[in-house]
Subunit: 408 residues, 2 copies
């Protein structure tokens, strides 16, 4: 049961010139479902990626990093669901490399021009032969209009596809940004979410695109959390094909900011969609921390609140048991926090100030906000000017059910 997850109509999904997508049934884990996706990119595209910092990072993540560092133009992405190819050692690395070799042969490019991605169960060998056998079908179905099919094909425990698309004028030209993502558990991205793919027909210099990808990830996919579990496979990719005729080579370019904003807006939308469709989520919660001494401190407090199972179950119950939020602020790790300077709002309701319940606070007001499907928690620390925002969801029976049953 996703929370206000907007799925645009097919007619609002704009293909991106230079990007062609095919999907196929490879039978990686289950039969009769699309589990293989191939993105093909026009020559001259630039691609940047941001990946998980989990030390058990998956084999495909390691191969992606090597290929991106290699300096050759990336010409294709290959994504499988059903198996994460993580915790699979040397043989997993060979499987990911073999996937690239096989796809490169089909496309007449070099294996180093392919980026592989996997998502699914950890610690089980990737059935690479099935994957490779599915490649011809995925290539045969390639079309610029397959974004919806791809959004479906990369889903695991997601209940809905996540897709964003916009087309906007820029000078005398028009630019397009379209992207997809998937969640829905093991989400506390530390570089990016499980998988997010964003494409634009703007051209961006490779080094600049790398900086943009990192900065945008830190505003979008790195600001969401479902369960605090940083996945082994988190990957966020921006593809810039340049087919619009617009090319950006530096931050000084007057078009840089509008392009950055278009990409960042799309990435934030995709990241929030992951939270809206998080495993078992019934509420979408925004945690704003302000008046922190440093941005790191703001983020630490926001995550402490966002990860507290007690806070999350209270949201699930629509119970304004708000002492739990203050408790999480208190153990977030700010050793010299003076609680008398803190304030807590739930939506527009001032709940606590000076370290205690505000005299005007009424339970009925807290209750009213708690019943909303979208709730903003605002915490002022009274220590400085820094701030940050994290997006999360509640913790429900359904989360337990999904994760107790995931492999079966």
């Amino acid at each position: 049961m996703a929370v206000n997850l907007y799925i645009p109509p097919e007619s609002d999904i704009h293909p991106v010139d230079g990007v062609s997508i095919g999907v196929a049934e490879a039978g990686i884990r289950k039969a009769h479902r699309k589990d293989l996706t191939v993105f093909q990119l026009a020559a001259g595209s630039s691609v940047a990626g941001v990946f998980t910092r989990n030390r058990f990072r998956a084999a495909p993540v390691q191969v992606c990093e090597t290929h991106l560092a290699g300096g050759l133009d990336i010409r294709a992405l290959v994504i499988n669901t059903g198996n994460a190819n993580a915790g699979t050692g040397e043989s997993g690395l060979h499987a990911a490399q073999h996937t690239c070799v096989a796809l490169a042969e089909h496309l007449k490019v070099k294996p180093q021009q392919i980026l592989p991605f996997s998502t699914g169960v950890i610690l089980e060998p990737l059935p690479v032969d099935k994957l490779v056998a599915g490649l011809p079908d995925a290539i045969a179905s390639a079309s610029p209009d397959n974004w919806f099919a791809a959004a479906h094909s990369i889903m695991t425990t997601d209940t809905l596809p996540k897709i964003v698309s916009k087309r906007e004028p820029l000078g005398d030209k028009t630019i397009t940004v379209t992207g997809i993502s998937k969640g829905a558990g093991m989400i506390r991205p530390n570089m990016a979410t499980m998988l997010g793919f964003l494409a634009t027909d703007v051209g961006v210099a490779p080094e600049l695109l790398k900086d943009m990808a990192r900065s945008i990830a830190d505003r979008s996919f790195n600001r969401i959390t479902v369960d605090g579990d940083t996945s082994t496979n988190d990957s966020f990719i921006i593809m810039a094909t340049g087919q619009s005729g617009i090319q950006i080579d530096s931050v000084a370019d007057p078009l840089y900011t509008p392009v950055y904003d278009a990409l960042a807006g799309a990435a934030t939308d995709l990241a929030q969609k992951i939270v809206r469709d998080a495993e078992g989520a019934t509420k979408f919660i925004t945690i704003q921390v302000e008046q922190a001494a440093t941005p790191e401190e703001a983020l630490k407090v926001a995550y402490a609140v966002a990860h507290s199972p007690l806070v999350k179950t209270a949201f699930f119950a629509s119970d304004p048991n708000l002492g739990r939020i203050l408790c999480a602020v208190g153990y977030a790790g700010i050793d010299d926090l003076d609680v008398r300077n803190t304030k807590l709002w739930l939506g527009d309701v001032l709940v606590a100030s000076e370290g205690e319940r505000h005299p005007d606070y009424l339970e009925a007001d807290g209750q009213r906000v708690m019943k909303e499907p979208e709730i903003t928690v605002r915490i002022a620390l009274g220590r400085g000017e820094a701030f940050d925002t994290v997006y999360t969801c509640d913790f429900s029976h359904e989360y337990v059910s999904i994760n107790a049953d995931y492999r079966s």
Copy 2:
């Protein structure tokens, strides 16, 4: 549904000379339940305490710290359930102080000789008048044999009382150690658990007892976690009455070690009982991390695994989805962890080595261990000689139910 929580028969609970306990119904939150407990200590007892590091630490915690630092002999403890007196600001502090004043008048001692404790809902004013009105009943019922009654009286969402008692020979004398504790949610003690009280008839010099309390807390209450939420009210108290005639004044005393071991063993038992009766727990899980570079690193990895909702739900389902454990090891924050040197055992089964599933691992073996009510996860990091152990439980539907309904 507690996991193998041993409740000794009444006949095995040994009173501690110099300790007398009374309980009463004060109607703090609910009528007709014992919610007020008063410990009285013989003159000359020494008392040491270890308290939460949560910055929103409750008013009674603040008063305890002040009174313990004051240097007067502590003569009584007063404990209420139903309200945590936390997030209650100045008025909460006055309520805790007023409680001490009222009890001191009854007992003809100074208010600074009283330690107050509260546990229950946060952010609501303590009904101190009800508490004070209940004191005469609690005093009137004082008896050395009321340990069981006290263990019941301090319960909140606990399903069973937690009590430990032993009597053992020491030289030509006999010493007694008896204690109680309570959980059962908001448990990731960072100084001690919600409430733990341990008494012995050994006499211990006050400064030495302080060191012992901290060291013992770090081996017991500070090594358990249910949900990662460090409470505002965690308090662990050791009372040493000296009535046995044995007195210890330094670590050089030959009796120091057996007394320390007796107290530490009892504290670990009480701490583990909290996990065994944790909210919704169906499994008791021991996480041993070894071959770490530093003890801090071992603890960090153990807590990452112990707090992962994905790991905890897999245990609930008895599903050996063990990649989730490696994933948590990977994001625990050891930046230079080489996963090829790690090993993972589930009970006696070697699951993973060299960063991948061990070739001899059979799902059936993992399944067999996962079905046990008590499971040991052992993780070797291959980095050094340091180690640590953390105790936790699984994450069930019942946890969500309990915490979604707690206030109602």
